[in-house]
Point group: C2
């Protein structure tokens, strides 16, 4: 490799003589340093690609050996670790979709054939919210968890988080790994962590009070929660800028990468708004993240290798083009994702960033979807899941619309559904509507507002129905926008 491995080991505690690499848990740059691993973050493409190729070759060989899921899939497609002669050869491997993971886990519960460590090695369990049926379970080994904390420390360092900071984590601590990544990444770099959480009713006013008591300098959460917190503060007569967040990290929702929203957040809090996030399935490694210059998310390619691809062929597109990120782990043992299709919409560039890092970037973040999945308050909502849930309800008339809007910066999900002609329809009073809302909440993970309309009042489509209407500013403003 082009890197001076002995020097990386001696001065940075990074051992690249073994795969997965070993990280010294005590290594930390001094606060005035810009980079965690400058040699890698500012490397030339050629030099870093050599490192990535070495990691990727090891990751593929590992998956081939330990995961029947990949071995069977790759055999079907006539590829094997031997296929990889250069980094570009990765595009010959098949992409996998979330639905493949779900099917694998249904067939081989609970963790699927994808699991590449012994079940006894699993130390943490997380997962997706599973709104389309069975959720996807993540079983994470202790060594992956540790590498994850090192990755997050390094990434948050690039945005300016330092040991002197106190970070208040205002996202729900549960299945969602993002909150945990912020926690252990922040801990790894030596910051003070204040895991406040979110999700309990009435907690936002408390969050404002606690921010005043504890005086955190950094925030982690979703853009909608931050704006809700700001409005709650204002209602209590408190200027959100007085809370003192100099850094605000966001994931779990689009928005922080969209110029108008970023301006709104930065104006509201007088702090830097940092967009982060790839996919729940890629975490513990959330390796798309902005640096302190906020020029779009860097793709930290030596941690997770990302190809921006054509959304139909999944072949990489040139820099400057639009496509969908396809993600590949490079140092994960427990449940590696190799060419996981996100079906998110983005654009990538390789123009320089003032920070000096040489990673490619998504200058406008992630701004849309190539399928019909909707991201509402951090949850994946599929129109098909709404449909399935409605069809289980007696009195449902068969047609519906999903309307998403912003109410005081919190996403609102309205479901407009027809009731059935005949005897049942008279039963669809307020109580029935409330019970439908409950049922949908149980399935979707968030409570929609349900509006019942007479049979036949919603237009039917002859082709693929587009039942979702997204009225959020976040999406409207992102249409056709350049950063």
């Amino acid at each position: 490799m082009g890197f001076d491995l002995q020097q990386l080991k001696n001065s940075r505690g990074l051992d690249l003589a073994v795969w997965p690499p070993r990280y010294d848990p005590k290594y930390c740059p001094s606060s005035s340093e810009e980079y965690w691993f400058p040699e890698i973050e500012c490397a030339s493409d050629e030099e870093r690609d050599e490192l990535i190729f070495w990691k990727l070759r090891n990751q593929l060989a590992y998956a081939w050996e330990h995961s029947p899921f990949y071995r069977h899939l790759w055999q079907q497609f006539g590829v094997s670790p031997e296929t990889l002669k250069s980094l570009a050869d990765l595009a010959q491997f098949p992409v996998i979709q979330k639905s493949d993971l779900r099917k694998d886990q249904e067939k081989n519960p609970p963790f699927g054939d994808l699991l590449s460590i012994q079940p006894s090695e699993i130390r943490r369990i997380h997962g997706t919210s599973g709104t389309t049926g069975r959720p996807i379970l993540f079983g994470v080994g202790a060594d992956d968890w540790e590498r994850f904390s090192n990755a997050h420390a390094r990434i948050m360092w690039s945005a300016g988080l330092r040991p002197e900071d106190q970070m208040m984590v205002c996202s729900f601590f549960s299945l969602y790994v993002g909150s945990w990544g912020a926690l252990i990444g922040g801990e790894r770099l030596g910051a003070t962590l204040f895991p406040f959480g979110a999700g309990a009713p009435g907690q936002t006013a408390r969050a404002v009070e606690w921010a005043q008591y504890a005086k955190p300098t950094a925030f982690y959460g979703t853009p909608s929660y931050a704006l809700h917190l700001a409005e709650t503060a204002q209602r209590l007569g408190i200027d959100p800028r007085s809370l003192g967040f100099r850094l605000l990290f966001f994931s779990g929702e689009p928005g922080a990468g969209i110029p108008a929203t970023k301006r709104l957040i930065e104006g509201t809090f007088a702090g830097a708004c940092i967009d982060m996030g790839s996919m729940a399935e890629m975490t513990p490694w959330m390796t798309n993240s902005e640096c302190r210059h906020r020029t779009g998310m860097h793709l930290w390619q030596d941690l997770v290798y990302t190809e921006l691809c054509d959304p139909i062929t999944y072949k990489p597109v040139p820099f400057g083009s639009e496509g969908t990120p396809v993600y590949t782990h490079l140092e994960r043992r427990s449940q590696p994702m190799i060419r996981l299709a996100s079906n998110d919409q983005s654009r990538w560039v390789d123009s320089p960033c003032p920070c000096g890092r040489t990673y490619p970037r998504l200058p406008a973040g992630i701004y849309g979807r190539y399928d019909d999945m909707l991201l509402v308050r951090g949850k994946n909502i599929y129109p098909s899941a709404v449909e399935n849930a409605l069809r289980e309800i007696e009195g449902f008339g068969g047609e519906f619309r999903i309307i998403i809007s912003s109410q005081e910066h919190m996403d609102e999900l309205l479901i407009r559904a027809e009731y059935e002609n005949g005897e049942h329809s008279s039963g669809l009073n307020d109580t029935a509507r409330s019970s439908i809302e409950e049922k949908l909440r149980d399935r979707l993970g968030l409570r929609p507002v349900v509006e019942l309309v007479p049979p036949g009042s919603l237009a039917r489509s002859e082709f693929k129905a587009r039942r979702a209407i997204d009225n959020r500013d976040l999406y409207r403003k992102s249409l056709g926008k350049e950063p």
Copy 2:
């Protein structure tokens, strides 16, 4: 000391040559072993008291040197670390109350003069829910956090938790340290952790599904949440026994120590119900805990030294008597509590437990309060806080009652309040009541049901008003009961 220190260090990784002690993070007994540190847990009183005395002397000297809070307080009472010639001399030191901590933090925000490390050494921030006004902030150093994980691992080991177990933590991850203790204690002993959390609406049905997917063998949460989970499972047609929890750990609420409730939980889940918990202010060390024989909570005296005291004089009472636990940390650097009065009601004994541990026990757990604090769904509710909140509401008529009951095993808080005579009362319609509920929720941390009654309909007391009525089975069943 009577212990073979070299042997403890060599075979158990416990270094008692320094205070605070050092724990080897890799030490773990083999799964078939009953004890984590058998030499200490099964020691004679004399031998262990010698260890406790050594720890206590160091803890007092440390507090005297690093905490102006204790130095000033002790000077007022004419005591100093020199006063401690024997363990019994601790009773000469003044007790401190929660309200003292609150006043200290109000005067010296945010952590008070009690903070005994540099603010820059704080790595985690937690706190109380602060329903009576300003909450109490905990600033925990990295070394305390690590000792805490060692303490919890050791205590949960005594209840039978092993590296082979998978523990689902179903309590809210936020300010409350109990959930974090379960998490890091379980991790420290090598178990698989599934931090599911709680608190978000609609999450209980999800918890049932996830228990079915991931097949955890242990549960951590509150008794009311466990019973609510069981009823949710039953509604979904699932026998809670099929979830496979062989161990259920409880804290944050009384109940798991009350024979009727313990029988109910054990019958419902076919698993062992383990009662744990002291006070939020004592955590990270929650050192009252049952062993797998469930004969009442052991007081792990070499981690936190507990005196059962007369509730007025705070002098220790003999074994067999009733009193209030007074807690003293023995290895905490960041915010040590020395003689913190719980004002909880309990009884202690020193009769042998079949487990062989020689710690004193609270055979009926904690079964009441000597003041008027109510514990509802894991939150401390003071009638005075309810009163303060009501008095801020226009149209409130001056008298009220607090009625606590169980609805499907979840605590329900009903506040019956008089409205004011005159023009405002007509405004107290459903919308107004709902807004009062919101205001109370913001203050109390949980939403009560509010019932408005005409002026003068509630009897007034001439003396100290007893406005709280606790109708929960948990309390009714505990009255006058012996284990």
